[in-house]
């Protein structure tokens, strides 16, 4: 084979190497003479290097990373310090060929902080060597931690490590459940109302203020501990256990574990938050930080410092302050009862309801109220009265509408129900947000069969055409069927056929044929908001048991437009 036959295999055929150099058309740049600093660069290659190629150093990531001092981390944010926290600060001399000397590593404002250095200064650092400083922050010391650890290398500026945090102390006294625990959620809403009762509502708090009230009975050593704790640190922030969310550990947990087997569902645990482990007395207590929450366990950021046996109480924790100094009732020289009220100092978020049926852009509060106690109903009408005291008073009804109000009462059993009710409270946001509330009463009675395609219902005459006039609050229906289905429709017209029957026209056909016997209940739907910014949850027992919450809902004028977007309410 002649060698030329190999030609296509040995060369790409593109002829890159064989084109004659392009002809340059350039002219001399006037700038060249004035720029000697930026001209050609040559690198001296040592004589003993055999291959004397010339070239330029190419910058790479190493140029950014080596040949400097790394201190890691630069900021130590310890968060809420409720037990001894141990952290490491690593100092790395990343110079590839330069030894450094650490002349000083000083801790400023380090009260209550123990620094363990790897050696006394001056401390030599060989090239690429690393040393670790241990920092232990204890619970005793000023409430706010603001220390600086600064590393001083000869020939360099000081490299500071900022240590911040807050010392808190666990409230380890258990409540007296015979009186229950009262939890209060307070939103704040600014309402601007027009004379025709159309409202603009602004929520002024992104999260509600939350407070807890409970009575505690302490005796023996605990009584004195409480007395001293409140006396000494009463103005500080406490790690307050969320008492209703208590659970008892089912397993033994040895010292130094990070995973605690428990059931975190529907409890106030959150990543980055705190938990409290509490033994038999208020002296056996540990507060830890949550790193991750699993389905059947929580993982702590740092290992526990005590062994926790089966039966240890585990609480989620919120930081709180005493709203007022507790009132103590002396029961005997050994025992005392104290009533304490705590305001949570962090914002407490909770998801809003996600699975409620929606009607015209608002969720429907389909759950029937607990009626073991009588629920009050009422109307609120704004009348303008002009009375000059000698003629007959002049009364005007500018809105020509009454806001119906109705109490709603929840009795909750177990954590899932409590969680759902809390979601409703967070959906309502005090007085800010509106939901559809059925009257949950037998308001209308169907008297004739309705075809699935029909848009008219014949109901027993109750005077809807005469009095209600299709105004907000009395023009939306919730039709509950015996098979569990619920249908929401708007009445677009009502006419009394005779004294017995009224015919209602609805906006869309129901879709299923309905016989009167199949109807459980037809209630009016009222677009309503809370009548108060405060809601109280009365925890009779911990969250496995019962709790009560009640609320008054008040009608708002919903917009007449038929859009399903958020109402301007």
């Amino acid at each position: 084979m002649p060698w030329t036959a190999l030609w296509p295999l040995t060369f790409s055929g593109q002829g890159d190497y064989f084109t004659s150099p392009p002809v340059w058309d350039g002219r001399a740049g006037g700038a060249l003479g004035s720029e000697p600093r930026f001209g050609a660069r040559s690198v001296a290659v040592p004589q003993h290097v055999a291959d004397q190629r010339r070239g330029a150093l190419q910058a790479m990531f190493g140029e950014d990373f080596f040949d400097r001092i790394h201190v890691e981390p630069r900021v130590l944010n310890l968060g809420n310090v409720s037990s001894v926290q141990q952290r490491a600060v690593r100092v790395w001399n990343a110079y590839r060929a330069r030894a450094l000397t650490l002349t000083d590593a000083a801790l400023v404002a380090g009260e209550g902080i123990v620094l363990t250095a790897p050696g006394a200064t001056p401390l030599p650092f060989a090239p690429l060597s690393e040393r670790t400083w241990q920092i232990a922050v204890g619970t005793d010391g000023p409430p706010v931690i603001a220390a600086t650890l600064s590393f001083q290398f000869a020939g360099f500026g000081a490299i500071p490590v900022v240590i911040t945090g807050q010392r808190i102390v666990a409230w380890a006294f258990a409540p007296d459940w015979s009186r229950g625990v009262l939890e209060r959620l307070a939103w704040k809403t600014d309402i601007l109302t027009s004379p025709t009762q159309v409202e603009q509502r602004r929520g002024l708090r992104s999260a509600p203020r939350r407070s807890f009230e409970a009575r505690m009975i302490v005796d023996g050593r605990e009584r004195v501990l409480l007395d001293l704790a409140v006396f000494g640190w009463g103005g500080r922030t406490w790690a307050l256990p969320i008492w209703p969310d208590v659970q008892w550990l089912a397993n033994e947990h040895a010292l130094g574990v990070r995973v605690i087997a428990c059931d975190p569902a529907h409890r106030d645990f959150r990543v980055g938050g705190l938990v409290q482990l509490c033994g038999k007395t208020a002296f056996e207590v540990e507060v830890a930080e949550v790193e991750a929450i699993g389905a059947i366990s929580i993982t702590l950021r740092h290992p526990t410092t005590k062994a926790w046996p089966r039966g240890t109480r585990l609480y989620p924790v919120r930081t709180a302050r005493l709203a007022e100094l507790p009132k103590v009732t002396r029961l005997s020289d050994q025992a005392a009862a104290i009533s304490a009220r705590f305001d949570i100092v962090e914002s407490c978020d909770w998801p809003t309801v996600a699975d409620a049926p929606m009607y015209r852009g608002h969720p429907v509060l389909a759950q029937r109220p607990d009626e073991t106690e009588a629920l009050s109903n009422g109307w609120q009408r704004v009348l303008l009265t002009l009375d000059n005291d000698f003629g007959r008073p002049f009364v005007m009804d500018p809105a020509d509408w009454a806001a119906v109000s109705q109490a709603h009462h929840w009795r909750m059993h177990g954590r899932a129900e409590r969680s759902a009710v809390r979601s409703w409270l967070y959906t309502l946001r005090g007085r800010q947000c509106a939901v559809w509330r059925p009257t949950h009463a037998d308001d209308l009675v169907l008297v004739a069969n309705v075809a699935g395609t029909a848009t008219a219902l014949d109901v027993a005459n109750v005077g809807l055409a005469r009095f209600a006039g299709l105004r907000p609050g009395r023009r939306d229906l919730r039709i509950e069927l015996r098979n569990g289905q619920a249908i929401h429709r708007r009445i677009t017209a009502a006419v009394a056929l005779d004294d017995e029957i009224e015919r209602l026209t609805i906006d869309t056909a129901i879709g299923v044929d309905i016989r009167p016997q199949a109807v459980q209940r037809i209630s009016f739907l009222v677009l309503s908001r809370g009548d108060s910014d405060e809601a109280e949850i009365e925890h009779h027992t911990d969250s496995d048991g019962a709790a009560d919450a009640s609320l008054v809902l008040r009608a708002v004028r919903d917009p007449d437009s038929d859009d399903s977007g958020p109402a301007p309410a």
Partner: protein, 311 residues
């Protein structure tokens, strides 16, 4: 203060903020004038022998390359001509498109020695970034000058808006480019006695003024490094100097240097605007255009730039 963050309502106000920032950081302002040829303004400035002019152009473009534009070109000396666009040995203009205000934030980075530069990151709306600026490369080899200007032109066509590797987008210091929009990186590399060479990224292999740089093109100097994600141990990603190479004839290329204090970096583990600390250095990290994001919005994936704060 070599780093400052500010806000501006429109490109012209941005130029004025840039003037104040540059003046405070050792740049000499030659002029801030209305342009005579187009609707817009022109800011000429210099640091030592490095001259540049920043321009705005409020109209023009099209749906895929929407106005307003902010651009820059490099030149030598300053000519107080009536036409602000005419300067000595000027490069073509490196444009940045769709620089509409008001901006969420504006970040300025500057240095005058040893290599002068002015780097500007525009956050046109939350999470969306535009980059432009000028400066002098950290030169390598037998190269004089080394001035560069760059911008960023995203191609706003619904089919390509969210493909970061598409050649329709002209990305600063990246040569994977096809001429749907004008090239946005121009480097002046004088060497071998040949002067006044403004190189720009090119879609032609035979272009003698071609510039090779970046990470998206197969032939680009740091193409392989773009696939290098963060360290699984530390979550940190390496920043890569944006090497630039130019043809030397006979199919050979020479490295000419890299822009100072500007790196390519993958943003897998970083948020837009986040700061990365390396020893005593602080780097601000921004996406090339917008980090990931839903379909239908501009998306430059995890490609990003790191700018060093040198104060």
């Amino acid at each position: 203060m070599a780093y400052a963050t500010s806000a501006a309502n429109d490109p012209n106000e941005l130029l004025d903020k840039l003037r104040l920032f540059a003046q405070g950081n050792g740049w000499a302002i030659d002029g801030l004038r209305d342009r005579t040829t187009k609707t817009g303004r022109a800011l000429s400035l210099h640091a030592g022998p490095l001259y540049a002019t920043f321009l705005t152009e409020l109209t023009g473009g099209d749906g895929n390359r929407p106005p307003p534009f902010v651009g820059a070109f490099g030149h030598t000396g300053y000519v107080a001509n009536a036409n602000a666009d005419v300067q000595n040995e000027a490069s073509a203009i490196a444009w940045t498109n769709y620089a509409q205000g008001p901006y969420s934030a504006v970040h300025f980075f500057s240095q005058v020695a040893p290599q002068p530069y002015l780097h500007i990151v525009l956050e046109t709306q939350a999470g969306t970034f535009k980059h432009f600026g000028t400066g002098r490369l950290v030169t390598a080899g037998a190269v004089h000058t080394g001035q560069y200007v760059y911008g960023s032109q995203w191609f706003y066509d619904a089919n390509h808006i969210n493909s970061p590797d598409d050649q329709r987008h002209a990305v600063a210091f990246d040569d994977a480019w096809y001429n749907f929009v004008s090239p946005v990186t121009r480097v002046r590399a004088d060497y071998d006695g040949v002067a006044s060479r403004w190189h720009s990224v090119s879609d032609s292999d035979t272009d003698t003024r071609r510039l090779l740089c970046g990470w998206r093109g197969r032939a680009a100097p740091i193409n392989l490094l773009k696939d290098l994600g963060h360290s699984t141990l530390t979550g940190r990603a390496p920043g890569q100097p944006l090497w630039c190479a130019v043809p030397r004839g006979a199919g050979l290329f020479s490295d000419v240097g890299h822009p100072p204090d500007l790196r390519f970096i993958r943003l897998d583990s970083y948020a837009p605007g986040e700061e990365l600390t390396l020893g005593s250095d602080r780097w601000k990290l921004f996406p090339v255009h917008r980090k990931n994001g839903p379909a239908g919005t501009p998306n430059s994936g995890i490609y990003g730039y790191a700018y060093r704060i040198t104060d």
